[in-house]
């Protein structure tokens, strides 16, 4: 695998001393689906804007296929951005929107351009809607126009700034799987910005978790979820029960009336409440040592009543131990 995009100690701070991005180093492999995950204001969107060229870094460098992009305007960079609100040109038809980049970024003959536009329209299932204006499209269709408009240029890296957040929740899951299969088909490197851990986990080959302008951890979804390096990463990727310094995820936390027999760690606890979620139950307990612990148990394992004394236990290999 070849490195396609490299960030070297990328930093961005503003005149008011606000540090948006601080020393981010990262290498993206060709064809990879990489997510930058973090809460709002963590610097993930600024990182994307530095790569796209909408802002210049105060320090560090962005390299595309080994060549520094320093000082290059957005129109001279072979990356393309899908904006959060899609940023379609409202006075242009679907076709004109998709053609725009081909006219200005890539000089090509009319026949070639028309073929590329037709291919792109087919790829995002918008054939037949090329003469519509953005205002006449649904949210999902607009998003696909934005994707087609960028993908038609075959950029080295496609930058996606929370492209699913403007869709309604039902549509979001469907579009998510479409996005993944689209990325596999075109083989273009995706840099996906999101604050939704479920999105990042389900889509990505690798995830970079950002917090306060820094990259806290980079790894596969399994690595960042099961082996988080910092407490922030552990908490941001899902609920963690912190028991005496070690973390246990609710789905790895078991509950029973009798203490387990083998090498498990077990602590007596009292049931405080039980939350029915359909496919499972969330049992909230308080350990005798005082910490609150949530256990996700199967509906088939029966329920536990408020005030009952139980044993909370887990396997040592499921423990999350953060070095810090």
């Amino acid at each position: 695998m070849d490195a396609v995009l490299e960030l070297r100690k990328l930093s961005k701070s503003y005149a008011n001393h606000h540090v948006a991005v601080s020393g981010v180093s990262l290498t993206l492999q060709q064809g990879e689906f990489f997510s930058l995950l973090g809460p709002s204001g963590c610097g993930k969107t600024t990182t994307l804007r530095l790569i796209a060229g909408f802002e210049e870094p105060t320090d560090g460098d962005v390299l595309l296929k080994g060549v520094s992009l320093r000082g290059l305007p957005p129109y001279a960079r072979n990356v393309s951005t899908v904006f959060q609100n899609y940023a379609l040109f409202p006075h242009m038809t679907v076709r004109e929107n998709i053609e725009f980049g081909l006219r200005h970024k890539a000089q090509m003959r009319t026949a070639e351009r028309e073929k590329r536009v037709a291919d792109a329209l087919g790829m995002v299932r918008l054939t037949g809607k090329e003469s519509r204006f953005p205002a006449q499209l649904s949210g999902g269709e607009r998003q696909r126009v934005a994707l087609a408009r960028s993908l038609v240029l075959e950029p080295d890296v496609l930058l996606l700034d929370e492209p699913l957040s403007a869709l309604d929740p039902n549509l979001r899951k469907q579009v998510r799987s479409e996005l993944k299969s689209l990325q596999r088909r075109v083989g273009i490197t995706f840099l996906f910005i999101t604050h939704d851990q479920e999105e990042a986990l389900s889509l990505s080959d690798r995830i970079g978790v950002m917090n306060q302008g820094r990259l806290e951890q980079v790894g596969t979804p399994q690595e960042v979820y099961l082996r988080p390096r910092t407490r922030f990463v552990a908490d941001f990727l899902g609920t963690v029960n912190w028991i005496n310094g070690v973390g246990v995820r609710p789905e790895a936390t078991r509950i029973s009336y009798q203490p387990p027999g083998g090498g498990e760690r077990a602590v007596p606890a009292v049931v405080e409440s039980s939350l029915f979620l359909g496919n499972c139950l969330h049992i909230r307990t308080r350990l005798i040592t005082g910490e609150p612990v949530v256990a996700e148990v199967s509906r088939l394992n029966g329920s536990y009543g408020r005030g009952e004394t139980v044993h909370v236990w887990w396997h040592p290999q499921d423990e999350i131990i953060c070095p810090q």
């Binding site: 796209a52 060229g53 909408f54 305007p73 957005p74 129109y75 990356v79 393309s80 951005t81 904006f83 959060q84 609100n85 940023a87 379609l88 040109f89 409202p90 006075h91 725009f100 980049g101 006219r103 200005h104 970024k105 890539a106 204006f133 408009r149 960028s150 240029l153």
Partner: protein, 272 residues
């Protein structure tokens, strides 16, 4: 609910419909000896409108108004763009655009006369620098009238264009750059088309008062330039022909309304 709308209805009736009815009635009466109007009813004012003399005045007025509007657009668009890019100074610059409204239009027009006349600032400066030997004829011609109109109505062009520029989503501009458009392409293919409603509104707001202007042509044109505004004014003052003045007013109004309807229809069709 209906009762609440009554004051508005009365207002429209008193301030818009009634004057219009009066002007219509006047245009169909005969002129009085010392101004005013009298019986019998007559359509003579309208037949007089077919005189080629008046047609040429109308054409001249339309040309002057169109040139003034075009110049306002040429100056106003870059100015509006500049203001919208000025960050924290925006409000200051907008205030400067609006500031002239705080003094009388008449005074400001006189100021132009002082600038443009033979012994005015411009000619004195050029003479003293030795660039010209004798004063340039800057005042009392159509050029001076157009300068006055452009100066007077420029804010009406700048403000609506500024408002539409401000409404353009910044990410749309960034998307264009991202897709390979250089600044000039962004300006001509994204910003200008998206400002079309502001440009249309500004052009109407400049064109219509320019068309009916009488003060500026009177003062800066020095009576040598007769435009529709002056024609109407003269009928009610020196010529004492109120019926004809009313007929000219109504024709001007009808032409403007046809023009506006045409623009409105184009806007609907072209998704501007």
């Amino acid at each position: 609910m209906r009762l609440c709308l009554l004051p508005a209805a009365v207002l429209i009736l008193l301030l818009f419909v009634a004057p219009l009815v009066i002007v219509c009635a006047y245009s169909l009466l005969s002129r009085g000896a010392y101004g005013g109007v009298g019986l019998p009813w007559s359509a003579e004012s309208y037949t007089r409108l077919f005189d080629p003399l008046y047609a040429s005045i109308f054409v001249r007025s339309f040309v002057v108004a169109a040139i003034s509007t075009a110049l306002c657009l040429l100056l106003g668009f870059p100015l509006a763009l500049f203001i919208s890019r000025s960050g924290r100074r925006k409000n200051l610059y907008l205030a400067l655009v609006i500031l002239p409204f705080w003094t009388s239009f008449l005074v400001r027009t006189y100021a132009w006369m002082f600038l443009l006349r033979d012994t005015g600032l411009v000619n004195t400066l050029l003479l003293s620098l030795g660039i010209i030997r004798e004063p340039l004829p800057l005042l009392y011609n159509y050029g001076a009238v157009i300068v006055g109109l452009v100066y007077g109505y420029l804010p009406f062009m700048v403000l609506p264009i500024y408002a539409t520029i401000e409404r353009i989503d910044r990410s749309v501009i960034e998307a264009a750059a991202d897709l390979g458009a250089k600044p000039w392409t962004i300006l001509t293919q994204i910003v200008v088309p998206l400002c079309a409603p502001g440009i249309a509104a500004g052009s109407v707001l400049v064109f219509i008062p320019s068309l009916g202007a009488y003060l500026t042509p009177d003062l800066l044109g020095g009576g040598k330039t007769i435009l529709v505004g002056n024609l109407i004014q003269n009928q009610f003052t020196t010529a004492r022909d109120w019926p004809f003045g009313s007929a000219v007013s109504l024709l001007l109004m009808a032409l403007v309304m046809v023009l506006l309807l045409l623009i409105a229809r184009r806007n609907q069709e072209g998704l501007l």
